[in-house]
């Protein structure tokens, strides 16, 4: 049932490749800046960096349209940026400012943007999966298609993309949600970001079956393992899965094999893995892999790379200036948004 997809070769359109490179660099450099700002105590609380995993978000989100929905985890800065939430608004959120995408109420773990159908930013491991299934159910019920066991799928649904880690697969909510989505043939695509660790717990120390795609496949969900360090492989697998889901084939599951180069969060002293392992994965840095391929193809040179880096640096500088100038929300507003304004009399 599970298939490890090889990275397709020679299919890389160089225009797309350069955009992917740029997107990965935006995430990488933005988060490097955030780490710096964290050590300067401009950013507080938990901060979970995505560095090393950029190809996963870039390759998968390529397959989505603005009408699709995205549900992510606390490690969602990449998805938030790619969804189009302005970097400055994300950084203002990290600064706890009123200009942040959630007015500073959410912080780095809870980025939301209603206009972009970005549904968080969930800090409870696996808690986004049931919500994603429900969004897909709403999609199905509103599109007028059937959504029951045994029914044929419905063509043309918007898709819900649900991101979660390898750790989440050990939670009951993963199993409940994948089963429910399959049972009702809902338009949801499960993107499992398998970065080999749940905090300090290595995959093999929490999963009796370390091939996570097999678990999803046992629910009659088409499931593949994909090289998550190769953005082309990710994009081609995601395109295939999302297209199938959109065409009524029911939920799909991709296990994206990746690695976080940094600690779990800024609190983590990273004592549980050896440096050699980190180095081996760094040798497969998704940004270098793509950049090398683009250079080979003659689509990128040093000047081109510098141009992208300069653009990204300018965007980050503007974001920092914006966040620095941001204002704290008035304490008088503390209890707003507990319930809807203009709700019950």
């Amino acid at each position: 049932m599970t298939v490890i997809l090889p990275a397709p070769r020679g299919s890389l359109g160089t225009g797309t490749g350069l955009l992917w490179l740029r997107d990965m660099l935006r995430i990488r450099r933005f988060e490097e800046t955030c780490a710096q700002l964290y050590s300067e105590t401009k950013i507080r609380g938990f901060l979970h960096l995505y560095i090393g995993e950029e190809a996963v978000a870039v390759g998968t989100m390529e397959a989505l349209t603005p009408d699709d929905s995205v549900v992510a985890t606390y490690r969602e800065h990449g998805q938030a940026l790619l969804r189009g939430i302005p970097m400055k608004v994300i950084l203002a959120e990290f600064y706890g400012r009123a200009e942040g995408c959630c007015r500073g109420r959410g912080g780095s773990m809870h980025l939301f943007d209603r206009t972009r159908r970005f549904f968080g930013g969930n800090g409870i491991v696996a808690a986004g999966l049931p919500v994603a299934v429900g969004l897909a159910l709403a999609e199905r019920m509103q599109s007028g298609g059937p959504g029951r066991f045994g029914d044929p799928g419905h063509v043309g649904d918007n898709v819900v993309a649900c991101y979660f880690g390898d750790g989440a697969v050990a939670e009951g909510e993963f199993h409940e949600s994948v089963n429910l989505a399959a049972l009702w043939r809902l338009p949801v695509v499960f993107f499992c970001e398998n970065n080999q660790y749940a905090m300090g717990t290595a995959l093999a120390r929490s999963h009796s079956q370390t091939n996570l795609a097999i678990k999803a496949a046992s629910y009659e969900v088409p499931a593949w393992q994909v090289d998550g360090m190769d953005v082309e492989a990710v994009a081609s697998a995601a395109a295939r899965a999302v297209e199938a889901v959109r065409n009524g084939a029911g939920p799909h599951f991709l296990e994206l094999l990746t690695y976080r180069f940094r600690a779990h969060s800024m609190y983590d002293p990273d004592r549980y893995r050896d440096k050699g392992e980190i180095e081996r994965w760094r040798a497969r840095d998704p940004i270098s892999i793509l950049a090398d391929r683009l250079r080979e193809a003659g689509a990128l040179d040093d000047a081109g790379m510098r141009g992208i880096e300069d653009d990204v640096a300018a965007e980050i500088a503007a974001a920092v200036a914006f966040a620095e100038a941001g204002q704290p929300e008035s304490v008088a507003d503390l209890t707003r948004f507990v319930t809807s304004e203009g709700g019950q009399p």
Binding site: S69, G100, C101, C102, R103, G104, R105, G106, H110, F112, D113, R114, F119, G120, G121, N122, G123, I124, A127, L129, P130, V131, A132, V133, G134, L135, A136, L137, A138, E139, M141, Q142, P146, G147, R148, G172, E173, E176, S177, N179, L180, L183, R336, F337, V338, T339, S340, E341, G343, Q344, P345
Partner: protein, 337 residues
Amino acid sequence: MSVGTRAVPTGAATGTYREALREAMRDALRRDDRVFLMGEDVGAYGGAFAVSLGLLEEFGPDRIRDTPLSESAFVGAGIGAALGGMRPIVEIMTVNFSLLALDQLLNNAATLLHMSGGQYNVPLVVRMTTGAGRQLAAQHSHSLEGWYAHIPGLRILAPATIDDARGMLWPALEDPDPVLIFEHGSLYNVSGALSDPPAEVDICHAAIRRPGADLTLVTYGGTLPLTLDAAQLLAAEGCDAEVVDLRVLRPLDTATFLESVRRTHRAVVIDEGWRSGSLAAEVSARLMEEAFDDLDAPVGRVCSAEVPMPYARHMEQAALPSADKVAEAARRVLAGG
């Protein structure tokens, strides 16, 4: 003071609390395409307490959705469906099993609006059975609505009358935020007048179910009938007790019971939850904070004994509030101060 039932019924048929709940769902399903029901055994079985009996036949399996035994997933899916524009009614078989969905209710339903800085409200209604009294032993007899009433962002309703069973669902569905409705298992077979057209009820205020001058009995849900019985016992002794039905456990309508106690100067709070950290504790704390000078005696409380609910009937009865225990507590409060 405000009374929950406002409209004057023009005609009345007899019905049960269960039928009133079913009628409320039927009405909502007819009125609004976005409304659907989902939960364990709500369809083919007709609901564990037969509340949804017949709805599958009438509305079909898309709108009356049987779910697997996955409380967290189907409550979370209710949240997602609500975010996606639907108006789900999620039935959790009983409050005991809601613990498997507690994370979704607390960390998602109740918090999304605030965490998102006001962007994502969750128009979800969750119904569940609560309470003891049917010899179902420790794991099937909880009264945990007081726990849920602790949570900012949720509205908690406890219909204790047939009119409330009939009337609370629609305003709950109109509420832009999550609403939990607790139906006490002992009430399903209670029958009485079913107002026609249905009485209009709000989901904001407590109601005075029996006016009185000498003492205020504050309660809600499954303990309302026995509290009214206690008021009868007291009446025979010359004490005229007022009975306040909280109806809405969050946000608590403090004004109604405060106003009552300012007139009667004495209060007993009756709550099937465990005494420590109970809703009764909250009501009595508010009375102490806001009506201290009006009280002629310390506030009394009748709650469940702090034991896991025993199976044997005599032991279960010993653990639960009863009309006699309420009357006894009232006599102590009347004698004090």
